[in-house]
């Protein structure tokens, strides 16, 4: 197994299936009464979050604790980056403390990649800039596979800020790699240049984007990051691009609706849809822990796999 998990881009199909297969076993751990195995006892894992995160950080931490690793959390407010420490210094200092794994989220694309080159510890990318968020794509894939079986040939729509979503970035790579047919839709001001070269279709409007799809994935609108807003108002976004009850009639009856969270209710997705029968949003959250446990186990060595899949 590789040292780091930096992105979906460089994962092989074999590695993806290995992670997903193992995640099925790790998921069972979370369903037991005693949700803990000793596999990573004595391993130190640093969770380094330079951007606010609740869900991903919590998910990683739970995954680590269920594997008995010792975890340390850093967030931007109490790290020295705000005091101007360079990436290289951060890496050297972390490496000196000899952790087994560093889980990192950073606002600049490529940060985990450069960090990984500078240390022996495994680096897991928990989101870098507008680039990748590989564990999210893997947990989404796991959820799709659970609900749909075969991923190949599935029709998947991804809705929202495609240009600046690392969730979209990793999911497009992951789903196209697995042979799904991906369609994206969002305001044109939120689509990247050359979006079709990513191997996706672009739907002209919401209705066309979701009609006949097996999976509809709604991205979180992050209005707070906009210095030059890409749409006039949240109200208008919801009106033209939000997934609402009235759209359900276009969906296949066995379609699943996904969202990486946290949800802006009434913006990109209406509460009735998010909480409705097609929604698998909470399954995603549950699978997030399983995927992260699997990734940790695989990165920390093959031996662990057998111990956990008892």
């Amino acid at each position: 197994m590789r040292k780091d998990l930096l992105g979906i881009a460089d994962l092989t199909l074999f590695e993806v299936s290995m992670i997903l297969d193992l995640a099925e076993s790790t998921k069972s751990i979370s369903e037991r009464t005693v949700k803990k195995v000793p596999t990573l006892r004595g391993r130190t894992i640093v969770n380094l979050f330079f951007e606010p995160s609740t869900r991903t950080r919590l998910s990683f931490e739970i995954a680590q604790k269920r594997l008995s690793a010792d975890t340390v959390n850093f967030s931007v407010s109490d790290s020295s980056i705000s005091k101007g420490e360079t990436l290289v210094d951060t890496a050297k200092n972390l490496a000196a403390m000899n952790p087994s794994v560093v889980v990192i989220r950073h606002g600049a694309a490529g940060y985990p990649h450069r960090l990984a080159k500078l240390m022996d510890a495994s680096v897991i990318n928990a989101g870098d800039g507008f680039h990748e968020h590989p564990t999210q794509a893997l947990l989404d894939l796991m959820t799709i596979r659970e609900k749909k079986g075969e991923v190949k040939g599935l029709k998947v729509a991804i809705l929202g800020d495609i240009a600046r979503s690392r969730v979209a970035g990793s999911n497009i790579l992951c789903l196209t790699k697995m042979g799904a047919e991906v369609t994206v839709m969002g305001p044109s001001s939120m689509l990247p240049l050359h979006v079709r070269r990513l191997g996706v279709n672009v739907a002209p409007n919401l209705k066309e984007a979701i009609t006949g799809k097996d999976v509809v994935m709604v991205l979180r609108i992050q209005a707070e990051r906009d210095e030059a807003p890409r749409f006039p108002s949240l109200r208008e976004y919801n009106r033209y691009f939000g997934l609402k009850l009235e759209h359900l009639k276009y969906l296949k009856s066995d379609c699943i609706i996904m969202h990486p969270g946290p949800i802006n209710r009434g913006v990109e997705i209406d509460p009735e849809v998010a909480d409705g029968p097609l929604s698998v949003i909470l399954d995603q959250v549950a699978n997030g822990v399983a995927i992260r446990m699997a990734v940790l186990l695989l990165l920390l060595g093959g031996r662990s796999i057998y111990e956990v899949s008892d």
């Binding site: 606002g107 600049a108 990649h113 450069r114 680039h131 240049l193 050359h194």
Partner: protein, 465 residues
């Protein structure tokens, strides 16, 4: 003091010279350039180490390098054996950042001048974005005084267009001109206000000072860090559309057309800019342009290939192969007048940040000539004479500098090249304090082997004498 450069291929596009011959320098000026041999008796004979014949030997056949350049009497009469070498007017780099005053931790005037001399340059124009900004006479005088004391190369300071380079009110252009600036620019920032840019052109023309434009519509580049294209999409980095440059190039050309005053466009990087400038030149507008070695040789793919190495982060950003091709065409057909390095040293600390936070800039003085000889001349079939022109009369004429030629009586600035020399770019060995160079590790053929400024040998084989 007499110096004869013997037996080299002399290429001086500005004098229409291209033949094997000798150059006699007397009292730091060009005395004679001739096909016929020029001899002086009992002179010290020195020879830059020619790669194949004399690899790893010291640069001299009879004396060690330490003996030249000192005031020993014997060094008063020198014959420089240039057989097999190319002898050109001293190279001029009209776009360098020497960080002094203010950021002496990144580069000083002295280290910058050393880097220039080592890289084959005898004249440089320093950008005004220092701390304080060179927007007053006293800062200009400080730079010139420092440079004169060091004396390795000629330094032509550029002053700011606007006070503090804030884009609002004109800097002390007249007084700086009196002190010795040759051009004004807010390089690093664009003068976004069109009327201020127009007034700057008009006012500067009264003082014989050229205007150099950093053409970038910052409302379009808007926080971007690399060229907008499929690579930026793949890498998830905030993009800069090429239109950020081209719309402003058009404005600047148009203002030059309106006023009839020349304008020089710094670091042109896109096909559209080249086409706009070509059309403007055809229409008789007095626009000139420069291109950097990195924009001639690298593309946005370098950001991906280097795995987000911040030494590929530069403004304007590395573009696409199509843009590179257009820049080469622009060099060939004269649309682009000059090659300038945009030498922009930064401390390792500053560059060791993440790709978004790290500052823009690439150091170029000590890699430019080898990179251009190998990757522009040899690989892209740009004739050597043309390349030399882009380093001599091209930049000199663009800014109205009396440099770049070998006419009798000119201050003797000479760059000697060995087109066959093998070099490997090693940023750790740069005289520049900057290590932010994307060419590190490149093995190239062709290098400057000797720099002569004001008739004195300053470097041999890329090392200071």
């Amino acid at each position: 003091m007499r110096l004869v450069i013997k037996g080299g291929r002399i290429i001086s596009p500005g004098d229409r010279i291209d033949y094997v011959g000798d150059i006699l320098i007397e009292n730091s000026r060009i005395k004679r350039v001739s096909r016929r041999p020029i001899d002086i008796k009992d002179a010290l004979v020195v020879r830059p180490a020619v790669a194949k014949a004399m690899a790893d030997k010291p640069g001299f056949t009879r004396r060690s390098s330490s003996e030249v350049g000192k005031s020993s009497k014997k060094a008063d009469e020198i014959v420089l054996d240039a057989k097999g070498l190319v002898v050109a007017p001293g190279f001029i780099d009209i776009h360098v950042h020497f960080r002094e005053p203010g950021r002496e931790d990144a580069e000083t005037i002295e280290t910058g001048m050393k880097a220039a001399a080592a890289g084959g340059f005898t004249s440089v124009m320093t950008m005004p974005n220092t701390y304080p900004v060179n927007d007053t006479q006293s800062t200009t005088l400080f730079i010139l005084q420092k440079a004169a004391n060091i004396g390795l190369t000629h330094v032509f300071p550029a002053g700011a267009i606007t006070r503090g380079m804030k884009g609002r009110t004109l800097a002390a252009i007249g007084e700086m001109a009196e002190a010795g600036i040759v051009a004004i620019t807010d390089d690093g920032h664009c003068v976004m206000d069109g009327t201020i840019m127009r007034r700057a052109l008009e006012y500067a023309s009264d003082f014989g000072v050229r205007v150099v434009s950093h053409s970038e519509d910052t409302t379009l580049s808007a926080g971007g860090v690399m060229h907008e294209g499929f690579v930026s999409t793949r890498l998830g980095l905030p993009p800069i559309p090429q239109q950020a440059e081209t719309v402003m190039v058009y404005r600047d050309i148009s203002l030059s057309g309106l006023t009839g005053i020349p304008i020089h466009i710094a670091h042109v990087s896109t096909r559209e800019s080249v086409e706009l400038i070509r059309r403007a030149k055809d229409a008789g507008i007095k626009v000139t342009a420069e291109v950097t070695p990195h924009h001639l040789t690298l593309t946005d793919e370098a950001v991906e290939e280097s795995d987000y190495d911040t030494s590929t982060k530069v403004n304007p950003p590395l573009r696409t192969q199509d843009d590179v091709d257009a820049l080469i065409e622009g060099l060939l057909d004269g649309t682009i007048d000059a090659i300038a390095t945009d030498h922009a040293p930064h401390t390792t600390t500053d560059k060791e940040q993440d790709y978004v936070a790290a500052p823009f800039g690439i150091v170029g003085l000590e890699s430019a000539v080898p990179v251009c000889l190998d990757r522009v001349c040899a690989k892209r079939q740009v004739p050597l004479e043309l390349l030399i022109q882009k380093f001599t009369t091209g930049p000199a004429d663009a800014l109205g500098l009396k440099k770049g030629r070998l006419a009798k009586g000119d201050v003797a600035d000479i760059t000697i090249l060995d087109p066959a020399k093998d070099v490997t770019i090693d940023p750790a060995k740069f005289y520049s304090m900057g290590r932010n160079c994307p060419f590190g590790g490149w093995s190239l053929v062709g290098a400057p082997v000797c720099t002569i400024a004001s008739g004195q040998i300053k470097t041999i084989d890329g090392r200071l004498v």
